[in-house]
Amino acid sequence: MMKIRFPRPSRRVHAHCDIPCGIYDPEQARIEAESCLRIMEKFGHSEDEAFRTRCLAVKEERAELVKHHLDVLWHDFFKPEHLERFPQLHDTFWQATKQASAVKQTTDPAAARRLLDLIDTIDGMWIAAGGPGTTRVSGRPGAGA
């Protein structure tokens, strides 16, 4: 019987990406910022010193996570062509990460609300850049794309 053999490849070529996952969403930063806001509100309504101390510690941690998630979006998702489309991109990220530092320094919920506004501005650029269709896995129940 004749044996049919398909030619085998001689080498591998890389359709390479430094970040293999390619999953990005400003929602990740927003959830941490929402935690900061809610913690500040609870801090204001409590007179329990132990609880208030714990609030400050958790707020510090969550604000640091906001910075981390924003940095990943800024460095890895947004590319030079986005900067051409959104000239305010760098300034917005700078303001947002500085605002995350401001959230660490205060217990005024207004600081956290301002941080949420800045994250929503970034979210708008992420959506306009096609983020929801390209950087999330489709099929999540209740999700649009």
């Binding site: 080498r11 591998r12 890389h14 359709a15 430094d18 293999p20 030079p80 950087t135």
Partner: protein, 109 residues
């Protein structure tokens, strides 16, 4: 084993999706670029400027005075000229011409 300037290569990675997916086999030839430089839209094989042992497969986005600008098909998940800059046209020898496997998606690139 390249044979008469034609070779079969296997794709690794996602940055050329949906045109090329991991595991696809691609037919490449090294005659065209002996005659002329790469043109916009062609899919080429080129040594990674940052890790020359690794060979990349990317699409030519533009050809300019400072070299050839390469992009992955899936721009959101590709490391290409946006990171490592344009590459010299003379460094590109192989042109990918067709997807030969899987048969259902076989066709010219």
């Amino acid at each position: 084993m390249p044979w008469l300037g034609i070779d079969l290569v296997e794709v690794v990675g996602d940055s050329m999706a949906p045109a090329l997916r991991p595991g696809d086999l691609v037919l490449a030839e090294r005659l065209t670029y002996r005659v002329r430089p790469p043109r916009r839209g062609e899919v080429v094989l080129v040594a990674d400027p940052r890790f020359p042992d690794r060979e990349l497969i990317k699409r030519v986005a533009a050809v300019g005075d400072d070299g050839v600008d390469l992009r992955g098909e899936n721009a959101a998940a590709s490391t290409d000229s946006r990171t490592f800059g344009p590459v010299p046209a003379t460094s590109i020898r192989w042109r990918a011409i067709a997807r030969s496997w899987p048969p259902r998606r076989a066709g010219w690139l």
